[in-house]
Protein backbone atom coordinates (compact mmCIF):
# COMPACT_ATOMS: atom_id res chain seq x y z
CA UNK A 1 0.00 0.00 0.00
CA UNK A 2 2.99 2.27 0.37
CA UNK A 3 2.86 3.35 -3.22
CA UNK A 4 -0.83 4.15 -3.31
CA UNK A 5 -1.18 7.74 -4.44
CA UNK A 6 -4.91 8.24 -4.34
CA UNK A 7 -7.56 6.09 -2.79
CA UNK A 8 -11.32 6.56 -2.90
CA UNK A 9 -13.27 4.53 -0.38
CA UNK A 10 -16.99 4.04 -0.98
CA UNK A 11 -17.66 7.52 -2.29
CA UNK A 12 -21.35 8.28 -2.63
CA UNK A 13 -22.66 11.61 -3.81
CA UNK A 14 -26.32 12.38 -3.64
CA UNK A 15 -27.92 15.66 -4.77
CA UNK A 16 -31.31 15.75 -3.13
CA UNK A 17 -32.85 12.49 -4.30
CA UNK A 18 -30.49 11.96 -7.23
CA UNK A 19 -27.55 9.67 -6.71
CA UNK A 20 -24.74 10.91 -8.93
CA UNK A 21 -22.02 8.60 -7.64
CA UNK A 22 -22.79 5.41 -5.80
CA UNK A 23 -20.32 3.52 -3.66
CA UNK A 24 -17.35 4.27 -5.83
CA UNK A 25 -13.91 3.00 -4.76
CA UNK A 26 -10.68 3.21 -6.70
CA UNK A 27 -6.96 3.06 -6.05
CA UNK A 28 -4.38 4.91 -8.09
CA UNK A 29 -0.76 3.84 -7.61
CA UNK A 30 2.26 6.03 -7.93
CA UNK A 31 3.36 6.82 -11.49
CA UNK A 32 0.30 5.25 -13.04
CA UNK A 33 -2.02 6.67 -15.64
CA UNK A 34 -5.54 5.70 -14.65
CA UNK A 35 -8.67 6.62 -16.58
CA UNK A 36 -12.28 6.84 -15.50
CA UNK A 37 -14.62 6.37 -18.41
CA UNK A 38 -18.34 6.19 -18.76
CA UNK A 39 -21.22 7.63 -20.74
CA UNK A 40 -22.41 11.21 -20.23
CA UNK A 41 -23.86 11.79 -16.82
CA UNK A 42 -22.20 8.74 -15.33
CA UNK A 43 -20.87 10.82 -12.44
CA UNK A 44 -17.24 11.10 -13.45
CA UNK A 45 -16.88 14.83 -12.93
CA UNK A 46 -18.84 14.61 -9.70
CA UNK A 47 -16.32 12.09 -8.42
CA UNK A 48 -13.53 14.47 -9.42
CA UNK A 49 -15.16 17.33 -7.60
CA UNK A 50 -15.45 15.23 -4.46
CA UNK A 51 -11.78 14.33 -4.66
CA UNK A 52 -10.59 17.90 -5.15
CA UNK A 53 -12.72 19.28 -2.35
CA UNK A 54 -15.15 21.37 -4.40
CA UNK A 55 -17.97 19.73 -2.54
CA UNK A 56 -17.91 16.99 0.06
CA UNK A 57 -19.36 13.60 -0.89
CA UNK A 58 -22.46 12.45 0.95
CA UNK A 59 -20.44 9.61 2.36
CA UNK A 60 -17.06 8.02 1.84
CA UNK A 61 -13.41 8.87 2.19
CA UNK A 62 -10.55 10.02 0.02
CA UNK A 63 -6.90 9.36 0.86
CA UNK A 64 -4.07 11.18 -0.85
CA UNK A 65 -0.64 9.63 -0.23
CA UNK A 66 -2.31 7.74 2.60
CA UNK A 67 -3.41 10.94 4.20
CA UNK A 68 -7.12 11.40 4.78
CA UNK A 69 -8.21 14.49 2.87
CA UNK A 70 -11.95 14.03 2.52
CA UNK A 71 -14.35 12.11 4.71
CA UNK A 72 -18.05 12.50 5.27
CA UNK A 73 -21.14 10.64 6.38
CA UNK A 74 -24.81 11.44 5.90
CA UNK A 75 -26.30 13.39 8.74
CA UNK A 76 -29.15 15.78 9.42
CA UNK A 77 -31.62 15.83 6.54
CA UNK A 78 -29.46 13.56 4.40
CA UNK A 79 -29.72 10.76 6.92
CA UNK A 80 -33.33 10.12 6.04
CA UNK A 81 -32.93 10.83 2.36
CA UNK A 82 -29.84 8.71 1.94
CA UNK A 83 -30.27 6.01 -0.70
CA UNK A 84 -26.73 5.03 -1.61
CA UNK A 85 -25.54 1.43 -1.80
CA UNK A 86 -22.83 1.46 0.81
CA UNK A 87 -23.77 1.51 4.46
CA UNK A 88 -20.37 1.43 6.14
CA UNK A 89 -19.99 5.08 6.92
CA UNK A 90 -16.80 6.59 8.20
CA UNK A 91 -17.37 8.25 11.54
CA UNK A 92 -15.36 11.40 11.02
CA UNK A 93 -15.96 14.43 8.92
CA UNK A 94 -12.94 15.85 7.14
CA UNK A 95 -13.18 18.25 4.27
CA UNK A 96 -10.08 20.03 3.11
CA UNK A 97 -10.78 22.99 0.86
CA UNK A 98 -9.60 22.81 -2.77
CA UNK A 99 -6.67 25.13 -2.14
CA UNK A 100 -5.35 22.91 0.66
CA UNK A 101 -5.67 19.86 -1.53
CA UNK A 102 -3.77 21.62 -4.29
CA UNK A 103 -1.11 22.50 -1.76
CA UNK A 104 -0.72 18.82 -0.91
CA UNK A 105 0.24 18.23 -4.52
CA UNK A 106 -2.90 17.43 -6.46
CA UNK A 107 -3.67 19.68 -9.42
CA UNK A 108 -6.57 19.51 -11.79
CA UNK A 109 -8.00 20.85 -15.02
CA UNK A 110 -11.65 21.50 -15.75
CA UNK A 111 -14.04 20.01 -18.24
CA UNK A 112 -15.56 23.39 -19.12
CA UNK A 113 -12.28 25.27 -19.36
CA UNK A 114 -11.88 27.71 -16.50
CA UNK A 115 -9.12 30.12 -17.39
CA UNK A 116 -8.69 33.55 -15.86
CA UNK A 117 -10.45 35.39 -18.63
CA UNK A 118 -9.13 38.89 -18.31
CA UNK A 119 -5.50 37.85 -18.09
CA UNK A 120 -2.78 36.86 -20.48
CA UNK A 121 -1.51 33.36 -21.03
CA UNK A 122 1.61 34.11 -19.01
CA UNK A 123 -0.33 35.66 -16.13
CA UNK A 124 -2.58 32.63 -16.01
CA UNK A 125 0.39 30.41 -15.33
CA UNK A 126 2.04 32.92 -13.04
CA UNK A 127 -0.95 32.87 -10.71
CA UNK A 128 -0.43 29.18 -10.20
CA UNK A 129 3.18 29.70 -9.05
CA UNK A 130 1.81 31.74 -6.18
CA UNK A 131 1.54 28.53 -4.20
CA UNK A 132 5.29 28.28 -3.78
CA UNK A 133 5.97 31.90 -3.02
CA UNK A 134 6.43 32.40 0.63
CA UNK A 135 6.13 36.06 1.37
CA UNK A 136 4.01 38.27 3.55
CA UNK A 137 1.97 41.24 2.50
CA UNK A 138 4.68 43.71 3.42
CA UNK A 139 7.45 42.12 1.41
CA UNK A 140 5.11 41.61 -1.52
CA UNK A 141 4.01 45.24 -1.60
CA UNK A 142 7.51 46.61 -1.25
CA UNK A 143 9.00 44.07 -3.63
CA UNK A 144 11.38 42.54 -1.10
CA UNK A 145 10.59 39.15 -2.61
CA UNK A 146 12.31 40.10 -5.81
CA UNK A 147 14.29 36.90 -6.19
CA UNK A 148 11.32 34.68 -5.51
CA UNK A 149 9.30 36.61 -8.02
CA UNK A 150 12.03 36.21 -10.59
CA UNK A 151 12.13 32.47 -9.94
CA UNK A 152 8.35 32.25 -10.21
CA UNK A 153 8.39 34.02 -13.55
CA UNK A 154 11.07 31.70 -14.80
CA UNK A 155 9.10 28.70 -13.65
CA UNK A 156 5.99 29.98 -15.40
CA UNK A 157 7.97 30.46 -18.60
CA UNK A 158 9.32 26.93 -18.32
CA UNK A 159 5.82 25.54 -17.98
CA UNK A 160 4.68 27.49 -21.03
CA UNK A 161 7.61 26.06 -22.93
CA UNK A 162 6.65 22.56 -21.87
CA UNK A 163 3.17 22.94 -23.34
CA UNK A 164 4.47 24.89 -26.33
CA UNK A 165 2.66 28.14 -25.68
CA UNK A 166 5.69 30.37 -25.32
CA UNK A 167 4.99 32.28 -28.53
CA UNK A 168 1.51 33.29 -27.44
CA UNK A 169 2.42 34.16 -23.86
CA UNK A 170 1.19 37.73 -24.10
CA UNK A 171 -2.10 36.94 -25.77
CA UNK A 172 -5.31 37.09 -23.79
CA UNK A 173 -5.99 33.59 -22.49
CA UNK A 174 -9.49 33.42 -23.91
CA UNK A 175 -8.33 34.49 -27.39
CA UNK A 176 -6.52 31.18 -27.86
CA UNK A 177 -8.03 28.37 -29.91
CA UNK A 178 -9.72 25.62 -27.96
CA UNK A 179 -6.88 23.10 -28.06
CA UNK A 180 -4.37 25.64 -26.80
CA UNK A 181 -6.70 26.67 -23.98
CA UNK A 182 -6.70 23.06 -22.81
CA UNK A 183 -2.93 23.02 -22.94
CA UNK A 184 -2.82 26.23 -20.98
CA UNK A 185 -4.97 24.65 -18.29
CA UNK A 186 -2.46 21.84 -18.07
CA UNK A 187 0.45 24.29 -17.89
CA UNK A 188 -1.33 26.11 -15.11
CA UNK A 189 -1.88 22.88 -13.21
CA UNK A 190 1.76 21.90 -13.70
CA UNK A 191 2.93 25.26 -12.37
CA UNK A 192 1.62 24.30 -8.93
CA UNK A 193 4.31 21.58 -8.95
CA UNK A 194 1.90 18.72 -8.37
CA UNK A 195 2.61 15.08 -7.64
CA UNK A 196 -0.64 14.08 -9.16
CA UNK A 197 -2.57 15.52 -12.09
CA UNK A 198 -6.30 15.16 -12.54
CA UNK A 199 -7.44 15.82 -16.10
CA UNK A 200 -11.13 16.31 -16.76
CA UNK A 201 -11.80 15.44 -20.41
CA UNK A 202 -8.55 16.86 -21.76
CA UNK A 203 -9.36 15.81 -25.33
CA UNK A 204 -12.90 17.20 -25.47
CA UNK A 205 -13.44 18.96 -28.77
CA UNK A 206 -10.15 17.86 -30.31
CA UNK A 207 -9.75 16.19 -33.67
CA UNK A 208 -8.05 12.77 -33.97
CA UNK A 209 -4.66 14.25 -34.76
CA UNK A 210 -4.74 16.64 -31.84
CA UNK A 211 -5.87 13.78 -29.63
CA UNK A 212 -2.92 11.67 -30.68
CA UNK A 213 -0.58 14.57 -29.92
CA UNK A 214 -2.23 14.97 -26.54
CA UNK A 215 -1.66 11.32 -25.69
CA UNK A 216 2.00 11.75 -26.52
CA UNK A 217 2.11 14.93 -24.47
CA UNK A 218 0.49 13.40 -21.38
CA UNK A 219 3.01 10.59 -21.44
CA UNK A 220 5.85 13.08 -21.78
CA UNK A 221 4.87 15.25 -18.84
CA UNK A 222 4.19 12.17 -16.77
CA UNK A 223 7.79 11.05 -17.29
CA UNK A 224 9.33 14.47 -16.99
CA UNK A 225 7.61 15.51 -13.77
CA UNK A 226 7.18 12.00 -12.31
CA UNK A 227 3.44 12.49 -12.17
CA UNK A 228 0.60 10.21 -11.38
CA UNK A 229 -2.28 10.92 -13.73
CA UNK A 230 -5.99 10.34 -13.27
CA UNK A 231 -8.13 11.32 -16.21
CA UNK A 232 -11.72 11.36 -17.29
CA UNK A 233 -12.24 10.89 -20.96
CA UNK A 234 -14.70 10.09 -23.70
CA UNK A 235 -12.20 9.45 -26.46
CA UNK A 236 -11.66 5.72 -26.39
CA UNK A 237 -8.53 5.93 -28.55
CA UNK A 238 -6.82 8.20 -26.10
CA UNK A 239 -7.86 6.22 -23.05
CA UNK A 240 -6.91 2.88 -24.54
CA UNK A 241 -3.53 4.10 -25.72
CA UNK A 242 -2.24 5.72 -22.56
CA UNK A 243 -3.99 4.22 -19.54
CA UNK A 244 -2.43 1.60 -17.36
CA UNK A 245 -5.78 0.82 -15.86
CA UNK A 246 -9.36 1.88 -16.48
CA UNK A 247 -12.43 2.24 -14.27
CA UNK A 248 -15.81 2.27 -15.95
CA UNK A 249 -18.71 4.16 -14.39
CA UNK A 250 -22.34 3.92 -15.45
CA UNK A 251 -25.16 5.72 -13.66
CA UNK A 252 -22.80 6.43 -10.79
CA UNK A 253 -21.86 2.78 -10.31
CA UNK A 254 -18.56 1.10 -10.99
CA UNK A 255 -19.34 -1.57 -13.57
CA UNK A 256 -15.88 -2.72 -14.56
CA UNK A 257 -12.20 -2.09 -14.05
CA UNK A 258 -8.92 -3.49 -15.28
CA UNK A 259 -6.37 -3.05 -18.01
CA UNK A 260 -7.53 -1.52 -21.29
CA UNK A 261 -7.76 -4.97 -22.89
CA UNK A 262 -9.85 -6.39 -20.06
CA UNK A 263 -12.22 -3.48 -20.09
CA UNK A 264 -12.59 -3.45 -23.84
CA UNK A 265 -13.92 -6.98 -23.84
CA UNK A 266 -16.18 -6.63 -20.85
CA UNK A 267 -19.79 -7.19 -21.97
CA UNK A 268 -21.15 -4.84 -19.33
CA UNK A 269 -19.01 -2.02 -20.69
CA UNK A 270 -20.08 -2.69 -24.24
CA UNK A 271 -23.68 -2.70 -23.12
CA UNK A 272 -23.28 0.57 -21.27
CA UNK A 273 -21.78 2.26 -24.27
CA UNK A 274 -23.88 0.77 -27.01
CA UNK A 275 -27.13 0.58 -25.08
CA UNK A 276 -28.64 -2.59 -23.83
CA UNK A 277 -31.86 -4.20 -24.91
CA UNK A 278 -34.25 -4.65 -22.06
CA UNK A 279 -34.78 -8.32 -21.52
Amino acid sequence: MADSMLKLNNITMQFGGVIAVDDFSIVVKQNEIVAIIGPNGAGKTTAFNCVTGIYPPTSGQVFFENRLIVSNYPNKKMKALYAGGNKNFPKEKVCLTPDKITRLGMARTFQNIRLFKSQTVFENVLIATHLHQKCNLFSAVFRLNHQQEQAARKHAMDMLEVVGLLEVKDELATSLPYGQQRRLEIARALATKPKMLLLDEPAAGMNPQETAELAQFIRQIKERFRLTVLLIEHHMDLVMSISDRIYVLDFGRLIAHGTPEQVQDDPKVIAAYLGEDEE
Binding site: F15, T45, N49, I54, Y55, F110
Partner: protein, 295 residues
Amino acid sequence: MYDFISANLPYLLAGISVGGQYAMIAIGYTMVYGILRLINFAHGDVFTAAAYAMVYMNATMPLYLSLPLTILFTVILGYSVERIAYKPLRSAPRMSIMISSIGASYLLQNLMWYITSGLARQYPTIPWISKTVTIFTATTKMVTLVTPVLTLVLVLLLVQLINHTKIGMAMRAVSKDFETSRLMGIKINKVISVTFMIGSFLAAIGSMLYFTNYTAVVPTAGAMPGLKAFVAAVFGGIGSIPGAVIGAFIIGIVENIIKAVGLTTFSDAFTFALLIFILIFKPTGLFGEVIHEKV
Protein backbone atom coordinates in the same frame (compact mmCIF):
# COMPACT_ATOMS: atom_id res chain seq x y z
CA MET B 1 -52.38 43.58 31.96
CA TYR B 2 -54.80 46.17 30.75
CA ASP B 3 -52.12 48.79 31.07
CA PHE B 4 -49.68 46.66 29.18
CA ILE B 5 -52.05 46.18 26.30
CA SER B 6 -53.12 49.77 26.18
CA ALA B 7 -49.49 50.83 26.21
CA ASN B 8 -48.38 48.49 23.49
CA LEU B 9 -51.39 48.11 21.28
CA PRO B 10 -50.64 51.23 19.22
CA TYR B 11 -47.18 49.85 18.41
CA LEU B 12 -48.54 46.47 17.47
CA LEU B 13 -51.16 48.03 15.23
CA ALA B 14 -48.57 50.29 13.64
CA GLY B 15 -46.36 47.26 13.12
CA ILE B 16 -49.05 45.31 11.34
CA SER B 17 -49.93 48.31 9.24
CA VAL B 18 -46.39 49.17 8.25
CA GLY B 19 -45.72 45.48 7.66
CA GLY B 20 -48.52 45.40 5.11
CA GLN B 21 -47.07 48.45 3.41
CA TYR B 22 -43.64 46.87 3.31
CA ALA B 23 -45.24 43.76 1.87
CA MET B 24 -46.60 45.73 -1.08
CA ILE B 25 -43.11 46.97 -1.91
CA ALA B 26 -41.45 43.67 -1.10
CA ILE B 27 -43.52 41.84 -3.68
CA GLY B 28 -42.09 44.07 -6.37
CA TYR B 29 -38.57 43.23 -5.26
CA THR B 30 -39.12 39.56 -4.90
CA MET B 31 -40.86 39.14 -8.27
CA VAL B 32 -38.16 41.04 -10.13
CA TYR B 33 -35.48 39.10 -8.34
CA GLY B 34 -37.20 35.85 -9.12
CA ILE B 35 -37.15 36.60 -12.81
CA LEU B 36 -34.07 38.71 -13.45
CA ARG B 37 -31.95 37.82 -10.40
CA LEU B 38 -31.66 41.55 -9.92
CA ILE B 39 -31.99 43.73 -6.85
CA ASN B 40 -34.03 46.55 -8.30
CA PHE B 41 -32.58 49.41 -6.27
CA ALA B 42 -34.82 51.87 -8.14
CA HIS B 43 -37.97 50.25 -6.75
CA GLY B 44 -37.88 52.35 -3.57
CA ASP B 45 -37.71 55.47 -5.71
CA VAL B 46 -40.64 54.36 -7.84
CA PHE B 47 -42.47 54.09 -4.53
CA THR B 48 -41.52 57.68 -3.68
CA ALA B 49 -42.44 58.85 -7.17
CA ALA B 50 -45.90 57.42 -6.64
CA ALA B 51 -46.23 59.60 -3.56
CA TYR B 52 -45.22 62.70 -5.49
CA ALA B 53 -47.57 61.82 -8.32
CA MET B 54 -50.36 61.73 -5.77
CA VAL B 55 -49.29 65.06 -4.33
CA TYR B 56 -49.33 66.80 -7.70
CA MET B 57 -52.38 65.13 -9.15
CA ASN B 58 -54.47 65.65 -6.09
CA ALA B 59 -53.74 69.35 -6.30
CA THR B 60 -55.39 69.66 -9.68
CA MET B 61 -58.08 67.02 -9.86
CA PRO B 62 -60.65 65.26 -7.73
CA LEU B 63 -59.76 62.13 -5.82
CA TYR B 64 -61.64 59.71 -8.05
CA LEU B 65 -59.38 60.80 -10.89
CA SER B 66 -56.11 61.28 -9.05
CA LEU B 67 -56.10 57.85 -7.42
CA PRO B 68 -56.31 55.80 -10.62
CA LEU B 69 -54.06 58.23 -12.49
CA THR B 70 -51.39 57.95 -9.82
CA ILE B 71 -51.49 54.20 -10.11
CA LEU B 72 -51.32 54.42 -13.89
CA PHE B 73 -48.40 56.83 -13.70
CA THR B 74 -46.48 54.56 -11.35
CA VAL B 75 -47.07 51.53 -13.53
CA ILE B 76 -45.79 53.43 -16.56
CA LEU B 77 -42.80 54.65 -14.58
CA GLY B 78 -41.92 51.13 -13.47
CA TYR B 79 -42.26 49.93 -17.02
CA SER B 80 -40.03 52.72 -18.34
CA VAL B 81 -37.34 52.10 -15.76
CA GLU B 82 -37.21 48.51 -16.95
CA ARG B 83 -37.15 49.50 -20.61
CA ILE B 84 -34.49 52.17 -20.23
CA ALA B 85 -32.21 50.89 -17.51
CA TYR B 86 -32.42 47.11 -17.64
CA LYS B 87 -33.47 45.96 -21.08
CA PRO B 88 -30.30 47.12 -22.87
CA LEU B 89 -28.26 45.09 -20.38
CA ARG B 90 -30.05 41.77 -20.77
CA SER B 91 -26.91 39.87 -21.69
CA ALA B 92 -24.53 41.86 -19.47
CA PRO B 93 -23.03 40.49 -16.25
CA ARG B 94 -25.24 40.74 -13.21
CA MET B 95 -23.02 43.32 -11.60
CA SER B 96 -23.61 45.72 -14.51
CA ILE B 97 -27.37 45.46 -14.19
CA MET B 98 -27.19 46.04 -10.47
CA ILE B 99 -25.03 49.12 -11.07
CA SER B 100 -27.53 50.30 -13.64
CA SER B 101 -30.29 49.95 -11.06
CA ILE B 102 -28.27 52.03 -8.62
CA GLY B 103 -27.79 54.60 -11.38
CA ALA B 104 -31.52 54.61 -12.10
CA SER B 105 -32.24 55.13 -8.43
CA TYR B 106 -29.78 58.04 -8.35
CA LEU B 107 -31.42 59.56 -11.41
CA LEU B 108 -34.94 59.23 -10.05
CA GLN B 109 -33.93 60.77 -6.73
CA ASN B 110 -32.25 63.71 -8.41
CA LEU B 111 -35.17 64.15 -10.76
CA MET B 112 -37.60 64.27 -7.88
CA TRP B 113 -35.38 66.72 -6.08
CA TYR B 114 -35.35 68.92 -9.17
CA ILE B 115 -39.08 68.82 -9.71
CA THR B 116 -39.89 69.60 -6.09
CA SER B 117 -36.94 71.97 -5.60
CA GLY B 118 -35.94 69.78 -2.68
CA LEU B 119 -38.82 70.97 -0.54
CA ALA B 120 -40.90 68.59 1.48
CA ARG B 121 -44.44 68.32 0.10
CA GLN B 122 -47.57 67.86 2.09
CA TYR B 123 -49.12 64.48 1.35
CA PRO B 124 -52.84 64.86 0.58
CA THR B 125 -55.38 63.46 2.95
CA ILE B 126 -57.22 60.60 1.39
CA PRO B 127 -60.68 60.57 2.96
CA TRP B 128 -61.98 57.55 4.79
CA ILE B 129 -58.60 55.87 5.32
CA SER B 130 -57.32 58.98 7.11
CA LYS B 131 -60.28 58.83 9.46
CA THR B 132 -59.37 58.35 13.07
CA VAL B 133 -60.70 55.27 14.76
CA THR B 134 -60.38 53.90 18.24
CA ILE B 135 -59.71 50.24 18.83
CA PHE B 136 -59.93 49.25 22.46
CA THR B 137 -57.75 51.95 23.86
CA ALA B 138 -55.59 52.79 20.88
CA THR B 139 -56.41 55.69 18.65
CA THR B 140 -55.24 55.22 15.11
CA LYS B 141 -56.10 55.97 11.54
CA MET B 142 -58.38 53.82 9.48
CA VAL B 143 -55.43 53.01 7.22
CA THR B 144 -54.00 50.83 9.98
CA LEU B 145 -56.95 48.52 9.68
CA VAL B 146 -57.29 48.77 5.93
CA THR B 147 -53.67 47.92 5.12
CA PRO B 148 -53.47 44.31 6.32
CA VAL B 149 -56.84 43.46 4.77
CA LEU B 150 -56.00 45.09 1.48
CA THR B 151 -52.58 43.46 1.46
CA LEU B 152 -54.03 40.02 1.93
CA VAL B 153 -56.67 40.55 -0.73
CA LEU B 154 -54.15 41.79 -3.26
CA VAL B 155 -51.71 39.00 -2.50
CA LEU B 156 -54.44 36.41 -2.94
CA LEU B 157 -55.38 37.97 -6.27
CA LEU B 158 -51.74 37.98 -7.30
CA VAL B 159 -51.27 34.35 -6.37
CA GLN B 160 -54.36 33.49 -8.40
CA LEU B 161 -52.92 35.43 -11.30
CA ILE B 162 -49.61 33.63 -11.10
CA ASN B 163 -51.07 30.18 -10.69
CA HIS B 164 -54.00 30.30 -13.05
CA THR B 165 -53.30 32.57 -15.98
CA LYS B 166 -51.15 32.19 -19.02
CA ILE B 167 -48.91 35.12 -18.15
CA GLY B 168 -48.58 33.77 -14.62
CA MET B 169 -47.43 30.46 -15.96
CA ALA B 170 -44.91 32.23 -18.17
CA MET B 171 -43.63 34.09 -15.12
CA ARG B 172 -43.15 30.89 -13.21
CA ALA B 173 -41.35 29.34 -16.15
CA VAL B 174 -39.02 32.31 -16.59
CA SER B 175 -38.14 32.37 -12.93
CA LYS B 176 -37.28 28.67 -13.05
CA ASP B 177 -35.08 28.89 -16.10
CA PHE B 178 -34.57 32.06 -18.06
CA GLU B 179 -32.79 30.59 -21.06
CA THR B 180 -34.97 27.55 -21.52
CA SER B 181 -38.12 29.64 -21.31
CA ARG B 182 -36.78 31.85 -24.05
CA LEU B 183 -36.09 28.79 -26.17
CA MET B 184 -39.59 27.51 -25.52
CA GLY B 185 -40.96 30.63 -27.18
CA ILE B 186 -41.99 32.60 -24.12
CA LYS B 187 -41.78 36.30 -24.83
CA ILE B 188 -39.27 37.14 -22.14
CA ASN B 189 -39.53 40.89 -22.54
CA LYS B 190 -43.27 40.84 -22.17
CA VAL B 191 -43.05 38.74 -19.02
CA ILE B 192 -40.46 41.06 -17.52
CA SER B 193 -42.49 44.14 -18.38
CA VAL B 194 -45.61 42.68 -16.79
CA THR B 195 -43.60 41.80 -13.69
CA PHE B 196 -42.37 45.34 -13.35
CA MET B 197 -45.87 46.68 -13.89
CA ILE B 198 -47.35 44.47 -11.20
CA GLY B 199 -44.56 45.45 -8.82
CA SER B 200 -45.14 49.14 -9.51
CA PHE B 201 -48.89 48.78 -9.16
CA LEU B 202 -48.48 47.33 -5.70
CA ALA B 203 -45.84 49.94 -4.84
CA ALA B 204 -48.30 52.68 -5.81
CA ILE B 205 -50.96 51.30 -3.50
CA GLY B 206 -48.38 50.72 -0.79
CA SER B 207 -47.26 54.30 -1.18
CA MET B 208 -50.78 55.65 -0.70
CA LEU B 209 -51.17 53.68 2.48
CA TYR B 210 -47.66 54.40 3.76
CA PHE B 211 -47.67 58.15 3.27
CA THR B 212 -51.13 58.56 4.76
CA ASN B 213 -49.36 57.98 8.07
CA TYR B 214 -46.79 60.66 7.34
CA THR B 215 -47.42 64.29 6.63
CA ALA B 216 -44.64 65.06 4.18
CA VAL B 217 -42.81 63.52 1.25
CA VAL B 218 -39.13 64.17 0.53
CA PRO B 219 -37.16 62.75 -2.44
CA THR B 220 -35.34 60.17 -0.30
CA ALA B 221 -38.44 59.15 1.66
CA GLY B 222 -38.69 55.86 -0.22
CA ALA B 223 -35.11 54.75 0.20
CA MET B 224 -35.44 53.33 3.70
CA PRO B 225 -38.83 51.60 3.34
CA GLY B 226 -37.51 50.30 0.01
CA LEU B 227 -34.45 48.76 1.61
CA LYS B 228 -36.51 47.32 4.43
CA ALA B 229 -38.94 45.79 2.01
CA PHE B 230 -36.01 44.26 0.23
CA VAL B 231 -34.77 42.84 3.50
CA ALA B 232 -38.25 41.45 4.04
CA ALA B 233 -38.06 39.78 0.64
CA VAL B 234 -34.70 38.22 1.48
CA PHE B 235 -35.94 37.22 4.90
CA GLY B 236 -38.91 35.40 3.45
CA GLY B 237 -36.78 33.77 0.78
CA ILE B 238 -36.28 35.87 -2.27
CA GLY B 239 -38.45 34.84 -5.20
CA SER B 240 -41.27 33.68 -2.93
CA ILE B 241 -44.33 35.92 -2.69
CA PRO B 242 -45.81 34.49 0.52
CA GLY B 243 -42.31 34.62 1.97
CA ALA B 244 -42.03 38.32 1.17
CA VAL B 245 -45.40 39.06 2.75
CA ILE B 246 -44.66 37.15 5.94
CA GLY B 247 -41.18 38.64 6.11
CA ALA B 248 -42.61 42.12 5.70
CA PHE B 249 -45.13 41.65 8.50
CA ILE B 250 -42.47 40.25 10.83
CA ILE B 251 -40.14 43.15 10.13
CA GLY B 252 -42.89 45.72 10.49
CA ILE B 253 -44.03 44.35 13.81
CA VAL B 254 -40.60 43.79 15.33
CA GLU B 255 -39.46 47.21 14.23
CA ASN B 256 -42.34 48.79 16.09
CA ILE B 257 -41.78 46.65 19.15
CA ILE B 258 -38.23 47.99 19.23
CA LYS B 259 -39.61 51.48 19.04
CA ALA B 260 -41.94 50.63 21.90
CA VAL B 261 -39.01 49.50 24.01
CA GLY B 262 -37.42 52.89 23.41
CA LEU B 263 -34.59 52.01 21.06
CA THR B 264 -35.84 54.01 18.10
CA THR B 265 -32.27 54.66 16.89
CA PHE B 266 -31.89 50.97 16.34
CA SER B 267 -35.13 50.23 14.57
CA ASP B 268 -33.46 50.55 11.16
CA ALA B 269 -30.27 48.85 12.29
CA PHE B 270 -32.30 45.99 13.63
CA THR B 271 -33.76 45.25 10.22
CA PHE B 272 -30.30 44.90 8.77
CA ALA B 273 -29.05 42.86 11.69
CA LEU B 274 -31.93 40.51 11.03
CA LEU B 275 -30.94 40.39 7.38
CA ILE B 276 -27.35 39.48 8.13
CA PHE B 277 -28.45 36.94 10.69
CA ILE B 278 -30.70 35.21 8.19
CA LEU B 279 -28.12 35.37 5.43
CA ILE B 280 -25.58 33.66 7.60
CA PHE B 281 -27.76 30.95 9.05
CA LYS B 282 -30.28 30.38 6.31
CA PRO B 283 -29.12 32.18 3.19
CA THR B 284 -32.16 31.09 1.23
CA GLY B 285 -34.56 32.73 3.67
CA LEU B 286 -37.64 31.19 5.20
CA PHE B 287 -39.19 29.89 1.99
CA GLY B 288 -36.40 30.11 -0.56
CA GLU B 289 -35.17 27.29 -2.72
CA VAL B 290 -31.61 25.97 -2.66
CA ILE B 291 -29.87 26.47 -5.97
CA HIS B 292 -26.91 24.26 -6.77
CA GLU B 293 -24.16 25.83 -8.74
CA LYS B 294 -22.69 23.70 -11.47
CA VAL B 295 -18.93 23.40 -11.46
